[in-house]
Symmetry: C2
Subunit: 276 residues, 2 copies
């Protein structure tokens, strides 16, 4: 995509959104990799979660939040939500004239490079798994790879309760991963931006023969490349910061995530969505 | 509340709403108790759950869904969602000129009549428990009763997965109920309309010395009384039916609930909310 580069648009923020707080794993990965960049994050906590909702509804919500990010002068939109990445990115690319980075393609590309056995597992929300987005993205790169997917609907609620290391989470994971492990996968894509918060528990359940692919880290690398390709990277003498806005006043597990990700989040702004 | 009674308004439907599917436990109790009544149920599945959201957002959503029910000629609005009952009923009563029945007051009244030890437990979503609505309603009726509350945030996701009888659900319940049982409660209010679906598991975890108070059944009894007081009860020679509308096309666990509640739900209608 060609984008007109004004002299100062490199200083504009990276816009990042998620249905809620989970996408902060992407914001944290961006902060670590690109400390010169300012990030404007919006969590649509008034309507969280997107994971069980229809394509039309997820598109509608994503377009609305994308517009709020552009109102903040975002130079690029990062869809830090696997459900929205799986369902709404074509619509966002149709509507908005800034580079758009989803969270599915980078994870898929790394999974293809990682697997030796050509047997890859994917875990995510019900909507992400039902969309088949990872399967399509992986097989477009290498049609000989077999993809085994498992929806893990209880994992987000467990993470939002801060139960990262808990016997109940371990049992739930064991149950979800069993059918994938029976297929002898050697690579497992964490297809939901919440999941890196439970990375240790997932690694325990998957065992040492399975390599985890973290969609947050790989999304940050893709954003770095996209900024460079569009001459939009902030000058390296800048010091960026992270702004967080939510669409509902309840912060939910924001402070839990802040601690777990070692982020610095100050006052949280509130943004209205059309629901009210 | 005085309501002008037109000759035919007794034939209008009872309007029932919930953030999602859970309020069908109330619709099912109404159908059993009042077979002459037609019920129009709206589940706000585009924005489910309400349980973690702020008062202002829950008010806004409830007013919008209440308006949709009035567009269906509802003669009474039943707030079959404990979170909306706890947070939005004063606003609904301010705005709408039909009788409004919440789901908190009936459960509180039955708990007061049931307890011998004057030690009552309440379980519900985080928002319902934080609101203190049950505690206030119970102590308004009998200030000598001690109320012990526990938020059970994982219980709705477990129920929506159909895990009514599952060792993981049992462990989660044991953990949530332990502090209440240590307080020697003899009565436990199921303060969320989802919870009657897991009644057996909750009864196992609570033990035989604790009486469960089902807010769905008691809400239906309160609706019966309110219809009578307002001369709005359907003639007994009518045969009512249940209409279900959702605000998102994804039916989520509708069919799971339909089977568990032995309901007859035909085609599901779709209603737009302002979010789109």
């Amino acid at each position: 995509m060609e984008t007109e580069t004004r002299p100062d648009s490199r200083l504009d923020p990276i816009g990042v959104f998620d249905s809620g707080i989970g996408g902060l794993t992407v914001a944290a990965a961006l902060s670590r990799l690109l400390p010169s960049e300012t990030i404007f994050y919006i969590g649509d906590t008034a309507r969280v979660p997107y994971g069980g909702k229809s394509r039309k509804t997820v598109e509608r919500y994503s377009v609305e939040i994308g517009g709020l990010l552009l109102a903040e002068q975002a130079k690029i939109i990062v869809v830090a939500c696997n459900t929205a990445s799986a369902l709404a990115v074509p619509r966002l690319k149709q509507i908005f004239n800034v580079p758009i980075q989803d969270v599915v393609a980078p994870g898929a590309a790394v999974a293809v490079r990682t697997t030796r056995s050509k047997r890859v597992g994917v875990v995510g929300t019900r909507a992400t798994i039902a969309s088949g987005a990872y399967e399509r993205a992986i097989q477009a790169l290498d049609p000989t790879i077999e993809v085994f997917s498992a929806p893990c609907p209880l994992l987000v609620p467990l993470i939002e309760e801060g139960m990262f290391n808990d016997s109940i989470t371990d049992q739930v994971l064991a149950r979800y991963l069993q059918p994938l492990l029976e297929q002898s996968i050697d690579t497992l894509v964490l297809g939901c931006t919440h999941y890196p918060l439970a990375r240790q528990a997932i690694a325990r359940a998957a065992g040492e023969n399975v390599t985890l692919v973290d969609s947050a880290e790989n999304c940050a690398l893709a954003v770095q490349a996209l900024l460079k390709a569009n001459s939009l990277a902030a000058p390296s003498d800048q010091l960026g910061h992270l702004n967080v806005a939510l669409t509902d006043a309840t912060e939910g597990f924001l402070r839990t995530a802040e601690r777990a990700l070692n982020l610095q989040i100050g006052d949280v702004e509130l943004r209205s969505v059309q629901a009210g």
